[in-house]
Protein backbone atom coordinates (compact mmCIF):
# COMPACT_ATOMS: atom_id res chain seq x y z
CA UNK A 1 0.00 0.00 0.00
CA UNK A 2 2.66 2.50 1.05
CA UNK A 3 4.89 1.14 -1.69
CA UNK A 4 2.16 1.76 -4.24
CA UNK A 5 1.56 5.24 -2.93
CA UNK A 6 5.22 5.96 -3.03
CA UNK A 7 5.45 4.80 -6.60
CA UNK A 8 2.50 7.02 -7.55
CA UNK A 9 4.08 10.01 -5.83
CA UNK A 10 7.38 9.53 -7.62
CA UNK A 11 5.43 8.94 -10.87
CA UNK A 12 3.77 12.33 -10.56
CA UNK A 13 7.08 13.91 -9.71
CA UNK A 14 8.81 12.31 -12.69
CA UNK A 15 6.07 13.56 -14.99
CA UNK A 16 6.40 17.03 -13.50
CA UNK A 17 10.19 16.91 -13.86
CA UNK A 18 9.78 15.99 -17.51
CA UNK A 19 7.37 18.87 -18.19
CA UNK A 20 9.68 21.24 -16.32
CA UNK A 21 12.71 20.27 -18.40
CA UNK A 22 10.63 20.80 -21.56
CA UNK A 23 9.66 24.27 -20.22
CA UNK A 24 13.35 25.03 -19.65
CA UNK A 25 14.51 23.90 -23.08
CA UNK A 26 11.59 24.71 -25.36
CA UNK A 27 12.15 28.48 -25.74
CA UNK A 28 15.84 27.93 -26.38
CA UNK A 29 15.14 25.33 -29.08
CA UNK A 30 13.12 27.78 -31.17
CA UNK A 31 16.27 29.75 -31.99
CA UNK A 32 17.97 26.95 -33.98
CA UNK A 33 14.64 25.90 -35.54
CA UNK A 34 13.88 29.32 -36.99
CA UNK A 35 17.50 30.02 -37.91
CA UNK A 36 17.16 27.17 -40.44
CA UNK A 37 13.78 28.34 -41.70
CA UNK A 38 13.64 30.17 -45.03
CA UNK A 39 10.94 32.68 -43.99
CA UNK A 40 12.08 36.02 -42.61
CA UNK A 41 9.58 36.01 -39.72
CA UNK A 42 9.67 33.26 -37.12
CA UNK A 43 6.26 31.59 -37.27
CA UNK A 44 4.61 28.24 -37.91
CA UNK A 45 4.20 26.46 -40.24
CA UNK A 46 7.85 26.36 -41.27
CA UNK A 47 8.36 27.37 -44.88
CA UNK A 48 11.49 25.45 -45.83
CA UNK A 49 15.05 24.54 -44.92
CA UNK A 50 17.87 26.97 -45.65
CA UNK A 51 21.44 27.73 -44.58
CA UNK A 52 21.49 31.20 -46.14
CA UNK A 53 21.24 33.05 -42.79
CA UNK A 54 24.40 31.26 -41.69
CA UNK A 55 26.16 31.89 -44.99
CA UNK A 56 25.54 35.62 -44.60
CA UNK A 57 27.23 35.76 -41.19
CA UNK A 58 30.91 35.67 -42.28
CA UNK A 59 30.14 38.41 -44.85
CA UNK A 60 29.23 40.95 -42.16
CA UNK A 61 32.36 42.91 -41.13
CA UNK A 62 30.69 44.45 -38.03
CA UNK A 63 29.85 40.96 -36.82
CA UNK A 64 33.40 39.70 -37.31
CA UNK A 65 34.73 42.68 -35.37
CA UNK A 66 32.29 41.98 -32.55
CA UNK A 67 33.28 38.30 -32.51
CA UNK A 68 36.97 39.24 -32.29
CA UNK A 69 36.24 41.72 -29.47
CA UNK A 70 34.25 39.09 -27.59
CA UNK A 71 37.13 36.65 -27.94
CA UNK A 72 39.71 39.17 -26.66
CA UNK A 73 37.49 40.21 -23.74
CA UNK A 74 36.53 36.60 -22.93
CA UNK A 75 40.10 35.30 -22.86
CA UNK A 76 41.36 38.23 -20.74
CA UNK A 77 38.42 37.91 -18.34
CA UNK A 78 38.78 34.16 -17.91
CA UNK A 79 42.51 34.39 -17.16
CA UNK A 80 42.22 37.36 -14.77
CA UNK A 81 39.21 36.01 -12.89
CA UNK A 82 40.72 32.56 -12.57
CA UNK A 83 43.98 33.96 -11.15
CA UNK A 84 42.03 36.09 -8.64
CA UNK A 85 39.77 33.08 -7.99
CA UNK A 86 42.72 30.74 -7.31
CA UNK A 87 44.24 33.15 -4.78
CA UNK A 88 40.94 33.68 -2.96
CA UNK A 89 39.75 30.06 -3.07
CA UNK A 90 43.13 28.84 -1.84
CA UNK A 91 43.07 31.36 1.01
CA UNK A 92 39.48 30.52 2.00
CA UNK A 93 39.94 26.74 1.96
CA UNK A 94 43.46 26.55 3.42
CA UNK A 95 43.68 29.27 6.08
CA UNK A 96 41.65 30.40 9.10
CA UNK A 97 41.72 34.09 10.01
CA UNK A 98 39.41 36.79 11.37
CA UNK A 99 37.16 38.45 8.79
CA UNK A 100 37.37 35.47 6.48
CA UNK A 101 33.61 35.13 6.06
CA UNK A 102 33.10 38.87 5.59
CA UNK A 103 35.76 39.06 2.87
CA UNK A 104 34.29 35.99 1.19
CA UNK A 105 30.85 37.61 1.34
CA UNK A 106 32.11 40.77 -0.31
CA UNK A 107 33.85 38.87 -3.12
CA UNK A 108 30.68 36.82 -3.73
CA UNK A 109 28.37 39.88 -3.57
CA UNK A 110 28.23 40.62 -7.33
CA UNK A 111 26.40 37.29 -7.68
CA UNK A 112 23.30 38.64 -5.94
CA UNK A 113 23.44 42.32 -6.86
CA UNK A 114 21.35 43.57 -9.77
CA UNK A 115 23.81 43.81 -12.66
CA UNK A 116 22.58 47.28 -13.52
CA UNK A 117 23.75 48.55 -10.12
CA UNK A 118 27.22 47.07 -10.69
CA UNK A 119 27.26 48.53 -14.20
CA UNK A 120 26.17 52.09 -13.41
CA UNK A 121 28.36 52.40 -10.32
CA UNK A 122 31.44 51.40 -12.31
CA UNK A 123 30.35 53.69 -15.12
CA UNK A 124 30.10 56.65 -12.74
CA UNK A 125 33.59 56.08 -11.33
CA UNK A 126 35.14 55.59 -14.77
CA UNK A 127 33.54 58.77 -16.10
CA UNK A 128 34.48 60.69 -12.94
CA UNK A 129 38.10 59.66 -13.29
CA UNK A 130 37.96 60.88 -16.88
CA UNK A 131 38.92 57.46 -18.24
CA UNK A 132 37.57 56.50 -21.62
CA UNK A 133 35.28 53.53 -22.11
CA UNK A 134 36.80 50.67 -24.06
CA UNK A 135 37.14 46.91 -24.14
CA UNK A 136 39.35 47.26 -21.06
CA UNK A 137 36.50 48.69 -18.99
CA UNK A 138 34.30 45.76 -20.08
CA UNK A 139 37.03 43.37 -18.93
CA UNK A 140 37.20 45.11 -15.53
CA UNK A 141 33.44 44.77 -15.09
CA UNK A 142 33.29 41.17 -16.28
CA UNK A 143 36.10 40.08 -13.95
CA UNK A 144 34.10 41.45 -11.02
CA UNK A 145 31.08 39.28 -11.83
CA UNK A 146 33.12 36.22 -12.92
CA UNK A 147 35.27 35.91 -9.79
CA UNK A 148 32.35 34.58 -7.67
CA UNK A 149 31.71 31.80 -10.21
CA UNK A 150 35.41 31.03 -10.45
CA UNK A 151 35.56 30.91 -6.63
CA UNK A 152 32.64 28.48 -6.49
CA UNK A 153 34.24 26.10 -8.98
CA UNK A 154 37.71 26.36 -7.40
CA UNK A 155 36.67 26.10 -3.73
CA UNK A 156 34.92 22.83 -4.62
CA UNK A 157 38.17 21.71 -6.28
CA UNK A 158 40.39 22.79 -3.37
CA UNK A 159 38.14 21.34 -0.68
CA UNK A 160 38.55 17.67 0.10
CA UNK A 161 42.11 18.05 -1.03
CA UNK A 162 44.30 16.22 1.46
CA UNK A 163 46.61 18.67 3.16
CA UNK A 164 48.99 15.92 4.30
CA UNK A 165 50.19 15.60 0.69
CA UNK A 166 51.40 19.19 0.81
CA UNK A 167 52.91 18.70 4.24
CA UNK A 168 54.74 15.61 3.00
CA UNK A 169 56.14 17.61 0.11
CA UNK A 170 57.27 20.39 2.46
CA UNK A 171 58.86 17.83 4.80
CA UNK A 172 60.76 16.39 1.87
CA UNK A 173 62.34 19.80 1.36
CA UNK A 174 60.18 21.33 -1.37
CA UNK A 175 59.63 25.10 -1.08
CA UNK A 176 56.12 26.56 -0.72
CA UNK A 177 56.08 27.58 -4.36
CA UNK A 178 57.52 24.24 -5.46
CA UNK A 179 54.88 22.38 -3.45
CA UNK A 180 52.15 24.45 -5.05
CA UNK A 181 53.53 23.87 -8.53
CA UNK A 182 54.32 20.17 -8.19
CA UNK A 183 51.67 18.89 -5.78
CA UNK A 184 48.71 21.27 -5.52
CA UNK A 185 48.50 22.48 -9.09
CA UNK A 186 48.31 19.06 -10.79
CA UNK A 187 45.56 18.03 -8.38
CA UNK A 188 43.43 21.10 -9.01
CA UNK A 189 44.25 21.55 -12.70
CA UNK A 190 40.83 20.28 -13.89
CA UNK A 191 39.08 22.76 -11.57
CA UNK A 192 41.24 25.57 -12.96
CA UNK A 193 40.43 24.70 -16.57
CA UNK A 194 36.78 24.40 -15.58
CA UNK A 195 36.92 27.90 -14.05
CA UNK A 196 38.55 29.30 -17.21
CA UNK A 197 35.76 27.86 -19.35
CA UNK A 198 32.96 29.03 -17.04
CA UNK A 199 34.35 32.59 -16.94
CA UNK A 200 34.84 32.68 -20.70
CA UNK A 201 31.23 31.56 -21.24
CA UNK A 202 29.84 34.15 -18.83
CA UNK A 203 31.84 36.92 -20.46
CA UNK A 204 30.85 35.74 -23.95
CA UNK A 205 27.14 35.92 -23.06
CA UNK A 206 27.11 38.92 -20.71
CA UNK A 207 25.21 41.92 -21.97
CA UNK A 208 24.29 44.55 -19.34
CA UNK A 209 27.77 45.38 -18.05
CA UNK A 210 29.22 45.32 -21.56
CA UNK A 211 26.37 47.56 -22.77
CA UNK A 212 27.08 50.23 -20.13
CA UNK A 213 30.85 50.03 -20.08
CA UNK A 214 31.58 49.81 -23.79
CA UNK A 215 33.02 52.63 -25.80
CA UNK A 216 32.68 52.38 -29.55
CA UNK A 217 33.60 48.70 -29.80
CA UNK A 218 30.84 46.11 -29.59
CA UNK A 219 30.94 42.57 -28.23
CA UNK A 220 28.64 39.91 -29.71
CA UNK A 221 25.70 40.50 -27.31
CA UNK A 222 25.91 44.26 -27.97
CA UNK A 223 25.97 43.60 -31.70
CA UNK A 224 22.89 41.37 -31.33
CA UNK A 225 21.13 44.05 -29.27
CA UNK A 226 21.76 46.58 -32.04
CA UNK A 227 20.38 44.22 -34.69
CA UNK A 228 17.20 43.50 -32.75
CA UNK A 229 15.82 46.89 -33.73
CA UNK A 230 15.50 45.75 -37.35
CA UNK A 231 12.85 43.08 -37.93
CA UNK A 232 14.48 42.10 -41.24
CA UNK A 233 17.73 41.24 -39.46
CA UNK A 234 16.04 38.75 -37.13
CA UNK A 235 16.94 35.52 -39.01
CA UNK A 236 20.61 36.50 -39.03
CA UNK A 237 20.42 37.20 -35.30
CA UNK A 238 18.79 33.82 -34.76
CA UNK A 239 21.61 32.12 -36.69
CA UNK A 240 24.25 33.98 -34.70
CA UNK A 241 22.36 33.22 -31.48
CA UNK A 242 22.30 29.52 -32.37
CA UNK A 243 26.06 29.51 -32.81
CA UNK A 244 26.51 31.25 -29.46
CA UNK A 245 24.17 28.76 -27.79
CA UNK A 246 26.13 25.87 -29.25
CA UNK A 247 29.42 27.41 -28.05
CA UNK A 248 28.10 27.97 -24.52
CA UNK A 249 26.64 24.49 -24.40
CA UNK A 250 29.90 22.89 -25.53
CA UNK A 251 32.10 24.92 -23.17
CA UNK A 252 29.87 24.27 -20.17
CA UNK A 253 29.72 20.54 -20.88
CA UNK A 254 33.51 20.36 -20.99
CA UNK A 255 33.70 22.44 -17.81
CA UNK A 256 31.26 20.10 -16.06
CA UNK A 257 33.17 16.97 -17.09
CA UNK A 258 36.43 18.50 -15.84
CA UNK A 259 34.80 19.64 -12.60
CA UNK A 260 33.60 16.11 -11.92
CA UNK A 261 36.99 14.66 -12.75
CA UNK A 262 38.54 17.14 -10.31
CA UNK A 263 36.09 16.14 -7.59
CA UNK A 264 36.79 12.45 -8.18
CA UNK A 265 40.52 12.97 -8.22
CA UNK A 266 40.74 14.88 -4.94
CA UNK A 267 38.33 12.44 -3.31
CA UNK A 268 40.13 9.29 -4.44
CA UNK A 269 43.73 10.30 -3.97
CA UNK A 270 43.06 12.56 -1.00
CA UNK A 271 40.93 9.91 0.66
CA UNK A 272 43.53 7.21 0.15
CA UNK A 273 46.09 8.99 2.28
CA UNK A 274 43.75 10.37 4.89
Amino acid sequence: MTGMRRFLASGWLSAYAFVYVVFLYLPVIFLPIFSLNSAATPKFPLSGFTLKWYQDLPRTPALLDAAWNSLVVGVSVSILSTVLGILAARSITRYRYPGRRAINGLIMAPLVLPEIIVAISMLLVILQLGLSLSLLTIVLGHVLICVPYSMTVLTAGFEGFDRSLEEASADLGESALGTFRRVTLPMVAPAIVSSLLVCFTISLDEFIIAFFLTGTEATLPIYIWGQLRFASKLPGVLALGTLLLAASFLLMTIAEILRRRAARRTQNEGGLHA
Partner: protein, 305 residues
Amino acid sequence: MTAAAEGPPTLGIIRARRNALLLSEPVQGLALISPTFLYALVLLVLPILVVVAHSFWTQNYLTIDRTFTLENYRAALTEPIYRDLLWRSLYISMMVSFFTVVLAYPIAYFISFHGGRHKSLWLFLITIPFWTSYLLRVMSWKVILGYNGVLNSSLLGLGIIDEPSTALLYNSSAVIITLTHAWAAFAILPIFVSLEKIDRTLIEAAKDLGDGPIRSFLRVTLPLSAPGVISAALIVMIPTVGDYVTPKLVGGKDGVMIANAIQAQFGKASNWPLGAALSVTTMLIVTLMAGATVVIIRTAQRLVR
Protein backbone atom coordinates in the same frame (compact mmCIF):
# COMPACT_ATOMS: atom_id res chain seq x y z
CA MET B 1 65.52 40.72 5.92
CA THR B 2 69.00 39.93 4.61
CA ALA B 3 70.23 43.16 6.20
CA ALA B 4 68.86 42.01 9.55
CA ALA B 5 70.76 38.75 9.28
CA GLU B 6 74.06 40.63 9.53
CA GLY B 7 72.99 42.45 12.74
CA PRO B 8 73.72 41.49 16.37
CA PRO B 9 72.13 38.30 17.80
CA THR B 10 69.25 40.17 19.48
CA LEU B 11 68.13 41.29 16.06
CA GLY B 12 68.18 37.67 15.02
CA ILE B 13 65.56 36.88 17.63
CA ILE B 14 63.43 39.79 16.55
CA ARG B 15 63.75 38.61 12.98
CA ALA B 16 62.72 35.10 13.95
CA ARG B 17 59.67 36.52 15.70
CA ARG B 18 58.84 38.66 12.74
CA ASN B 19 59.18 35.67 10.46
CA ALA B 20 56.87 33.69 12.70
CA LEU B 21 54.37 36.52 12.47
CA LEU B 22 54.80 36.82 8.72
CA LEU B 23 54.30 33.12 8.28
CA SER B 24 51.45 32.84 10.75
CA GLU B 25 48.23 31.47 9.36
CA PRO B 26 46.09 34.64 9.45
CA VAL B 27 48.77 36.76 7.77
CA GLN B 28 49.39 34.23 5.04
CA GLY B 29 45.70 33.77 4.45
CA LEU B 30 45.04 37.50 4.30
CA ALA B 31 48.01 38.11 2.05
CA LEU B 32 46.77 35.45 -0.34
CA ILE B 33 43.25 36.81 -0.54
CA SER B 34 44.22 40.49 -0.65
CA PRO B 35 44.42 40.92 -4.46
CA THR B 36 40.89 39.57 -4.93
CA PHE B 37 39.65 41.46 -1.88
CA LEU B 38 41.19 44.73 -3.09
CA TYR B 39 39.71 44.19 -6.55
CA ALA B 40 36.21 43.89 -5.05
CA LEU B 41 36.89 46.85 -2.79
CA VAL B 42 38.07 49.16 -5.58
CA LEU B 43 35.63 48.06 -8.29
CA LEU B 44 32.53 47.34 -6.23
CA VAL B 45 32.51 49.03 -2.81
CA LEU B 46 34.14 52.27 -3.89
CA PRO B 47 31.85 52.71 -6.95
CA ILE B 48 28.76 52.03 -4.83
CA LEU B 49 29.91 54.70 -2.34
CA VAL B 50 30.34 57.09 -5.28
CA VAL B 51 26.77 56.32 -6.37
CA VAL B 52 25.49 56.99 -2.85
CA ALA B 53 27.38 60.29 -2.77
CA HIS B 54 25.96 61.32 -6.16
CA SER B 55 22.44 60.64 -4.95
CA PHE B 56 22.78 63.60 -2.57
CA TRP B 57 24.09 66.01 -5.24
CA THR B 58 22.45 67.93 -8.09
CA GLN B 59 22.99 67.86 -11.84
CA ASN B 60 23.75 71.37 -13.07
CA TYR B 61 23.67 71.02 -16.85
CA LEU B 62 27.14 69.58 -17.52
CA THR B 63 28.54 69.89 -14.02
CA ILE B 64 27.57 68.38 -10.70
CA ASP B 65 26.65 70.69 -7.81
CA ARG B 66 28.03 69.05 -4.67
CA THR B 67 25.84 70.69 -2.05
CA PHE B 68 23.92 68.18 0.03
CA THR B 69 20.27 67.77 -1.00
CA LEU B 70 17.48 65.23 -0.57
CA GLU B 71 15.68 66.51 -3.65
CA ASN B 72 16.57 63.41 -5.73
CA TYR B 73 15.06 61.12 -3.13
CA ARG B 74 11.94 63.29 -2.99
CA ALA B 75 11.63 62.89 -6.77
CA ALA B 76 12.34 59.15 -6.63
CA LEU B 77 9.73 58.49 -3.97
CA THR B 78 6.96 60.96 -4.79
CA GLU B 79 6.96 61.64 -8.53
CA PRO B 80 4.25 59.34 -9.93
CA ILE B 81 6.34 57.98 -12.79
CA TYR B 82 9.19 56.77 -10.59
CA ARG B 83 6.88 55.65 -7.81
CA ASP B 84 4.86 53.53 -10.24
CA LEU B 85 7.99 52.05 -11.80
CA LEU B 86 9.38 51.17 -8.38
CA TRP B 87 6.16 49.48 -7.28
CA ARG B 88 5.89 47.61 -10.54
CA SER B 89 9.50 46.42 -10.31
CA LEU B 90 8.96 45.22 -6.74
CA TYR B 91 5.70 43.53 -7.71
CA ILE B 92 7.29 41.80 -10.70
CA SER B 93 10.34 40.64 -8.76
CA MET B 94 8.13 39.32 -5.96
CA MET B 95 5.89 37.42 -8.39
CA VAL B 96 8.91 36.02 -10.22
CA SER B 97 10.60 34.82 -7.05
CA PHE B 98 7.31 33.29 -5.83
CA PHE B 99 6.73 31.40 -9.08
CA THR B 100 10.33 30.25 -9.51
CA VAL B 101 10.44 28.89 -5.95
CA VAL B 102 7.05 27.16 -6.17
CA LEU B 103 7.89 25.62 -9.55
CA ALA B 104 11.44 24.70 -8.54
CA TYR B 105 10.65 23.03 -5.22
CA PRO B 106 9.13 19.80 -6.63
CA ILE B 107 12.07 19.45 -9.04
CA ALA B 108 14.63 19.90 -6.28
CA TYR B 109 12.64 17.41 -4.18
CA PHE B 110 12.46 14.97 -7.06
CA ILE B 111 16.20 15.11 -7.71
CA SER B 112 17.10 14.87 -4.04
CA PHE B 113 14.70 12.04 -3.08
CA HIS B 114 14.20 10.15 -6.34
CA GLY B 115 17.28 11.15 -8.35
CA GLY B 116 19.16 8.01 -7.35
CA ARG B 117 22.48 7.67 -9.13
CA HIS B 118 21.62 10.35 -11.66
CA LYS B 119 21.45 13.33 -9.29
CA SER B 120 24.35 15.22 -10.81
CA LEU B 121 23.16 14.46 -14.34
CA TRP B 122 19.74 15.93 -13.51
CA LEU B 123 21.33 19.02 -11.99
CA PHE B 124 23.50 19.46 -15.05
CA LEU B 125 20.51 19.05 -17.37
CA ILE B 126 18.60 21.73 -15.50
CA THR B 127 21.42 24.25 -15.17
CA ILE B 128 22.60 24.04 -18.79
CA PRO B 129 19.98 26.39 -20.31
CA PHE B 130 20.89 28.88 -17.60
CA TRP B 131 24.42 29.12 -18.97
CA THR B 132 23.23 30.15 -22.40
CA SER B 133 23.03 33.83 -23.13
CA TYR B 134 20.36 35.58 -21.11
CA LEU B 135 19.79 38.03 -23.96
CA LEU B 136 19.08 35.13 -26.33
CA ARG B 137 16.65 33.47 -23.94
CA VAL B 138 14.70 36.71 -23.60
CA MET B 139 14.75 37.04 -27.36
CA SER B 140 13.32 33.55 -27.79
CA TRP B 141 10.37 34.51 -25.59
CA LYS B 142 9.79 37.46 -27.85
CA VAL B 143 9.73 35.03 -30.77
CA ILE B 144 7.23 32.83 -28.91
CA LEU B 145 4.85 35.49 -27.62
CA GLY B 146 4.98 37.96 -30.51
CA TYR B 147 2.08 39.04 -32.75
CA ASN B 148 3.41 36.83 -35.55
CA GLY B 149 5.05 34.57 -33.01
CA VAL B 150 5.13 30.86 -32.39
CA LEU B 151 2.20 30.76 -30.01
CA ASN B 152 -0.09 32.94 -32.11
CA SER B 153 0.74 31.22 -35.40
CA SER B 154 0.24 27.78 -33.81
CA LEU B 155 -3.09 28.72 -32.26
CA LEU B 156 -4.20 30.24 -35.60
CA GLY B 157 -3.09 27.14 -37.47
CA LEU B 158 -5.00 24.90 -35.08
CA GLY B 159 -8.09 27.06 -35.53
CA ILE B 160 -8.34 27.92 -31.83
CA ILE B 161 -8.23 31.67 -32.46
CA ASP B 162 -9.30 33.69 -35.52
CA GLU B 163 -6.78 36.50 -35.33
CA PRO B 164 -3.42 36.86 -33.54
CA SER B 165 -3.70 37.91 -29.94
CA THR B 166 -1.87 41.06 -28.89
CA ALA B 167 -2.36 40.23 -25.22
CA LEU B 168 0.64 37.90 -25.05
CA LEU B 169 3.53 40.28 -25.54
CA TYR B 170 4.38 43.77 -24.25
CA ASN B 171 2.92 43.64 -20.75
CA SER B 172 4.03 42.75 -17.26
CA SER B 173 2.82 39.14 -17.55
CA ALA B 174 5.24 38.61 -20.43
CA VAL B 175 8.00 40.02 -18.22
CA ILE B 176 7.03 37.70 -15.36
CA ILE B 177 6.94 34.60 -17.60
CA THR B 178 10.28 35.40 -19.18
CA LEU B 179 12.02 36.11 -15.89
CA THR B 180 10.54 33.04 -14.22
CA HIS B 181 12.01 30.96 -17.02
CA ALA B 182 15.34 32.76 -16.92
CA TRP B 183 15.86 32.29 -13.16
CA ALA B 184 14.53 28.74 -12.80
CA ALA B 185 17.89 27.06 -12.35
CA PHE B 186 19.01 29.57 -9.78
CA ALA B 187 16.10 28.64 -7.51
CA ILE B 188 16.57 24.88 -7.81
CA LEU B 189 20.16 24.70 -6.56
CA PRO B 190 19.79 26.19 -3.05
CA ILE B 191 16.59 24.21 -2.39
CA PHE B 192 18.31 21.03 -3.58
CA VAL B 193 21.29 21.65 -1.29
CA SER B 194 19.09 22.16 1.77
CA LEU B 195 17.05 19.04 0.95
CA GLU B 196 20.26 17.02 0.64
CA LYS B 197 21.28 18.11 4.13
CA ILE B 198 18.13 16.72 5.74
CA ASP B 199 18.81 13.67 7.88
CA ARG B 200 16.61 11.01 6.26
CA THR B 201 16.16 9.16 9.56
CA LEU B 202 14.06 12.10 10.80
CA ILE B 203 11.53 11.47 8.02
CA GLU B 204 11.57 7.74 8.80
CA ALA B 205 10.97 8.57 12.46
CA ALA B 206 7.99 10.78 11.59
CA LYS B 207 6.52 7.92 9.55
CA ASP B 208 7.18 5.38 12.30
CA LEU B 209 5.38 7.64 14.72
CA GLY B 210 2.30 7.57 12.50
CA ASP B 211 2.62 10.59 10.19
CA GLY B 212 1.44 9.96 6.64
CA PRO B 213 3.64 11.04 3.69
CA ILE B 214 1.93 14.44 3.39
CA ARG B 215 2.05 15.20 7.10
CA SER B 216 5.66 14.13 7.42
CA PHE B 217 6.51 16.27 4.41
CA LEU B 218 4.75 19.30 5.87
CA ARG B 219 6.09 18.87 9.38
CA VAL B 220 9.61 17.59 8.76
CA THR B 221 10.89 18.01 5.19
CA LEU B 222 9.40 21.40 4.35
CA PRO B 223 10.42 23.21 7.57
CA LEU B 224 13.93 21.74 7.40
CA SER B 225 14.35 22.94 3.82
CA ALA B 226 13.26 26.49 4.71
CA PRO B 227 16.84 27.87 4.54
CA GLY B 228 17.05 26.71 0.93
CA VAL B 229 13.68 28.26 0.12
CA ILE B 230 14.79 31.54 1.69
CA SER B 231 18.04 31.74 -0.24
CA ALA B 232 16.28 30.71 -3.47
CA ALA B 233 13.69 33.46 -3.00
CA LEU B 234 16.33 36.11 -2.28
CA ILE B 235 18.73 35.02 -5.01
CA VAL B 236 15.92 35.54 -7.53
CA MET B 237 14.20 38.58 -6.01
CA ILE B 238 17.18 40.89 -5.59
CA PRO B 239 18.67 40.69 -9.10
CA THR B 240 15.32 40.65 -10.94
CA VAL B 241 14.19 43.93 -9.41
CA GLY B 242 16.92 45.65 -11.43
CA ASP B 243 16.39 43.77 -14.67
CA TYR B 244 16.83 45.83 -17.81
CA VAL B 245 16.77 43.51 -20.82
CA THR B 246 13.47 41.70 -20.26
CA PRO B 247 11.25 44.77 -19.75
CA LYS B 248 12.95 46.43 -22.70
CA LEU B 249 12.42 43.47 -25.06
CA VAL B 250 9.10 41.96 -23.98
CA GLY B 251 7.66 44.49 -21.53
CA GLY B 252 6.37 47.15 -23.89
CA LYS B 253 4.92 50.27 -22.31
CA ASP B 254 3.16 48.46 -19.46
CA GLY B 255 6.16 46.36 -18.51
CA VAL B 256 8.79 49.09 -18.11
CA MET B 257 10.76 48.65 -14.91
CA ILE B 258 12.91 50.88 -12.74
CA ALA B 259 16.16 49.80 -14.41
CA ASN B 260 14.94 51.34 -17.67
CA ALA B 261 14.40 54.66 -15.86
CA ILE B 262 17.83 54.41 -14.22
CA GLN B 263 19.44 53.75 -17.59
CA ALA B 264 17.64 56.77 -19.05
CA GLN B 265 19.10 59.04 -16.35
CA PHE B 266 22.61 57.89 -17.21
CA GLY B 267 21.90 58.04 -20.93
CA LYS B 268 19.55 60.43 -22.69
CA ALA B 269 18.17 62.33 -19.69
CA SER B 270 21.70 62.73 -18.33
CA ASN B 271 20.75 63.32 -14.71
CA TRP B 272 23.30 61.20 -12.84
CA PRO B 273 22.26 62.21 -9.31
CA LEU B 274 18.62 61.27 -9.96
CA GLY B 275 19.74 57.97 -11.52
CA ALA B 276 21.93 57.37 -8.46
CA ALA B 277 19.05 58.13 -6.07
CA LEU B 278 16.76 55.76 -8.00
CA SER B 279 19.40 53.02 -7.75
CA VAL B 280 19.93 53.52 -4.02
CA THR B 281 16.18 53.64 -3.36
CA THR B 282 15.64 50.42 -5.34
CA MET B 283 18.39 48.65 -3.43
CA LEU B 284 17.09 49.81 -0.05
CA ILE B 285 13.50 48.80 -0.77
CA VAL B 286 14.45 45.42 -2.19
CA THR B 287 16.60 44.82 0.90
CA LEU B 288 13.59 45.58 3.11
CA MET B 289 11.44 43.30 1.00
CA ALA B 290 14.05 40.54 1.23
CA GLY B 291 14.14 40.96 5.01
CA ALA B 292 10.34 40.75 5.16
CA THR B 293 10.44 37.55 3.06
CA VAL B 294 12.91 35.96 5.47
CA VAL B 295 10.70 36.87 8.45
CA ILE B 296 7.55 35.54 6.75
CA ILE B 297 9.12 32.21 5.76
CA ARG B 298 10.68 31.74 9.22
CA THR B 299 7.33 32.46 10.90
CA ALA B 300 5.55 30.01 8.62
CA GLN B 301 8.26 27.47 9.40
CA ARG B 302 7.58 27.83 13.16
CA LEU B 303 3.81 27.69 12.72
CA VAL B 304 3.65 24.38 10.84
CA ARG B 305 5.85 22.58 13.34
